[in-house]
């Protein structure tokens, strides 16, 4: 089996189904409706028995042409779209978008607003990781963990709903601040959640982290080497699982992240288990950030003065944030006026998924599911 994988070049391509290169091979369509492709991703697998010879993701089933939409509306009108790309962690997407315009137009943001942004973004990151832990375990056949993580997830969603007004596709940040202030009830509920979440780690660890079946299923499966990560531009927890401590929050600090003391958890082997561990530890780091932010939370305005009709200067501007899945970059080219001339959105899952063809060659089908599950894919984000 290894020979088959070796004989192929690093990246091979989709052939029409009638032209199967090896008569012992066959094609298997995994998706667009499949329990473990998380949305409408289709992976065309060339198989040899149960071994995957060549997996080719086929994208675009959920494509909405967000970048074109951005060129047709004024900058504020595109704001709700940002939360709809990565529905599992919408607030970092909000954050990057508003911060992009703040950087371009030189708008000051009140300190309190920045703290609120960080707190809510980190809560959203935790929510996203909750969803992912459950979904990955579901891919591997364990039904129960997803309901435990959703129990925790509901606590955060309630907190976020109270301040943002919605539960999933947030549109909460505004250029110059946020659209609603947080109150004492929010602080109190968030502190209660932090306490509760720390206690809940015990269940995760007993049920999943230490479980021999889970370890055996993920250890050494889908190893992404640091070199491979660099060539593909892999970012986020998938990259950190490979041992590279790259995090936009530390590397190019934005907002008030430099004010907080937190670590970047990294893995050693770059396998699915390390990616799991990195995300689990990230929840703890996010809790630390939120705790510090709540302690330091300054008084003041939550929405600074932004001009109602904002004229952008001519030029280009880039803003990167650490979304739940990796580095999210908005790259804006402005030709003046209030409509972006071009908005390129670099989404983390897109680069992360592009590893799949090389990563999963010669793997068992079950391992492909585990490896893909550990990538934390959100398909509407990839398709945009």
């Amino acid at each position: 089996m290894e020979n088959l994988a070796e004989n192929r070049t690093a990246y091979t391509d989709l052939e029409p189904a009638t032209d199967i290169p090896n008569e012992n091979h066959y094609y298997l369509n995994m998706g667009p409706q499949h329990p473990s492709t998380h949305g409408v991703l289709r992976v065309l697998l060339e198989m040899d028995g149960e071994y995957v010879v060549d997996p080719q993701p086929v994208l675009g089933y959920g494509h909405r042409m967000q970048e074109k939409m951005a060129e047709h509306k004024n900058w504020m009108a595109f704001m709700p779209n940002t939360g709809r790309m990565d529905y599992a962690a919408a607030l970092p997407y909000n954050h990057g978008y508003v911060a992009l315009f703040e950087r371009l137009c030189g708008i000051e943001v009140p300190a309190r607003a920045e703290y609120i942004r960080v707190i809510t973004s980190e809560l959203n990151r935790i929510v996203s990781h909750h969803l992912w832990i459950g979904a990955m375990l579901l891919d591997m056949g364990a039904f129960t963990p997803i309901l435990y993580t959703f129990d925790d997830r509901e606590q955060v969603l309630d907190i976020l709903e109270d301040v943002t007004g919605s539960r999933l596709t947030y549109c909460y940040f505004r250029v110059g601040g946020v659209c609603k202030d947080i109150d004492d009830k929010f602080v109190e509920k968030t502190r209660a959640f932090i306490k509760r979440q720390r206690e809940r780690f015990d269940i995760y660890n007993k049920l999943v982290t230490g479980n021999i079946i889970f370890i055996k299923r993920t250890e050494g499966v889908g190893v992404i080497s640091p070199d491979m990560a660099r060539r593909y531009g892999v970012t986020g927890p998938v990259l950190r699982g490979s041992g590279i401590a790259y995090d936009v929050r530390k590397n190019e600090p934005y907002s008030v992240y430099p004010n907080f003391d937190f670590e970047i958890p990294v893995g050693r082997n770059g396998d699915s288990y390390d990616r799991y561990m990195v995300r689990l530890l990230e929840i703890e780091q996010s809790l630390r950030i939120i705790e510090q932010a709540l302690d330091q939370l300054p008084e003041g305005s939550f929405l600074g003065k932004a001009p109602k009709k904002m004229k952008m200067p001519t030029g280009d501007c880039s803003f990167s944030v650490e979304a739940a899945r990796g580095e999210l970059t908005y790259y804006l080219v402005s030709g003046g006026g209030d409509i972006p001339y071009r908005l390129k959105i670099r989404v983390p899952s897109y680069s992360n998924l592009s590893v799949l063809p090389e990563l999963c060659q010669g793997m068992l089908l079950s391992d492909l599911v585990a490896a893909m599950g550990s990538m934390d894919l959100v398909i509407p984000e990839i398709d945009r």
């Binding site: 473990s36 579901l138 079946i213």
Partner: protein, 322 residues
């Protein structure tokens, strides 16, 4: 009508009725236990605490069309559910529910049961092959390899009990547990038997043939309506059979605190033990992730078979010595 024939007809009707009833009880149990493990109430709509839900589900399945996919082998596709259901009823004929509650008493009833439960593999093979679906075929391949491998440790662990009792008769084995249950002297055999039983009945964490997150639904991907419900019934009937053998071999069968009409009321203890074991099966299913196929095989050949062989050897020596 000769009384013997009448007796057989009544027994046959009762057995089939029990298979259906068992599937309902287990289906309800599975959904309730899983719900409470996951901290939700589960079935609540039809009847008090949803007890009638399974009847409604059964009616729904009966009312559904069995869609025969294009390009499938139509005869085999329709045959497979029947092939799966028929042999799983037969072991009930020889199961000793109480001292006098046994339809047919056979000296080789254990062998009869083991032979009948193995036929299920053929049904899965036929179903997966006839479906003309790659996912079904995967499920089939896995299932056959798994069932064939796990039969070995299962038989070896049963054999160590047979060495002690020198009989294949289920009543005889129960009678041999007069003073103590065999689980006390053969705990390893019990564990090996139970794990193999999980694998034989395709229960999680060994639910390779279904593996719905990988193979959508494995060998029964293409089945709907009654075709599917026959597989469903067969799975639960097989679970019951496996657990009742475990009860007979290791937990003293129908023996327990004596009740009035002891010849017949032993069925209470028998059912209690069987459903206790079934609860463990359900409990295990809702706790673990699924193992990978090659790990499943490794576990069988590297752990279960050597251990059961060693256990058998030690048992043989001890039986000879004592």
């Amino acid at each position: 009508m000769p009384p013997e024939l009448l007796r057989m007809i009544i027994a046959a009707v009762l057995v089939v009725a029990f298979v259906f009833l068992n599937a309902m009880i287990l289906g309800y149990m599975e959904r309730k236990v899983s719900a409470h493990i996951q901290r939700r109430p589960g079935l609540m709509e039809v009847g008090p605490h949803g007890v009638l839900q399974l009847i409604v589900d059964g009616l729904k399945l009966i009312g559904k069309q069995l869609v025969v996919p294009e390009g499938s082998n139509k005869f085999l596709f329709r045959l497979a559910p029947v092939l799966s259901f028929a042999p799983c009823v037969l072991p009930f004929v020889v199961l000793p529910f109480a001292r006098k509650l046994q339809i047919v008493s056979m000296d080789i009833s254990l062998i009869f049961i083991l032979a009948m439960t193995s036929i299920n593999v053929i049904a899965i093979l036929v179903a997966g092959w006839a479906s003309n679906n790659k996912y079904s075929l995967f499920g089939t391949f896995r299932s056959v390899a798994q069932a064939v491998s796990y039969e070995i440790p299962m038989l070896l662990s049963i054999l160590s009990i047979i060495l002690i009792t020198s009989t294949f008769s289920l009543q005889g084995i129960i009678a041999a547990q007069k003073y103590y249950w065999f689980i006390l002297i053969q705990p390893l055999a019990f564990i090996i038997y139970f794990i193999s039983g999980l694998a034989e009945t395709n229960r999680a964490p060994f639910d390779m043939p279904e593996a719905e997150s990988e193979l959508t639904a494995g060998f029964h991907t293409e089945y709907s309506g009654m075709g599917f419900s026959f597989f469903f019934l067969a799975e639960y009937a097989n679970m019951f059979t496996v657990c009742s053998i475990a009860t007979v071999l290791f937990l003293g069968g129908w023996k327990g605190i004596p009740l009035p009409l002891g010849d017949y009321t032993g069925i209470f203890w028998f059912m209690l033990k069987v459903y206790g074991l079934l609860f463990v099966m359900i409990w295990v299913r809702w706790t673990y992730p699924r193992v990978r196929f090659d790990q499943l095989m490794t576990f069988c050949w590297k752990y279960l078979i050597p251990f059961s062989l060693a256990n058998l050897l030690i048992t043989a020596v001890l039986v000879k010595l004592i």
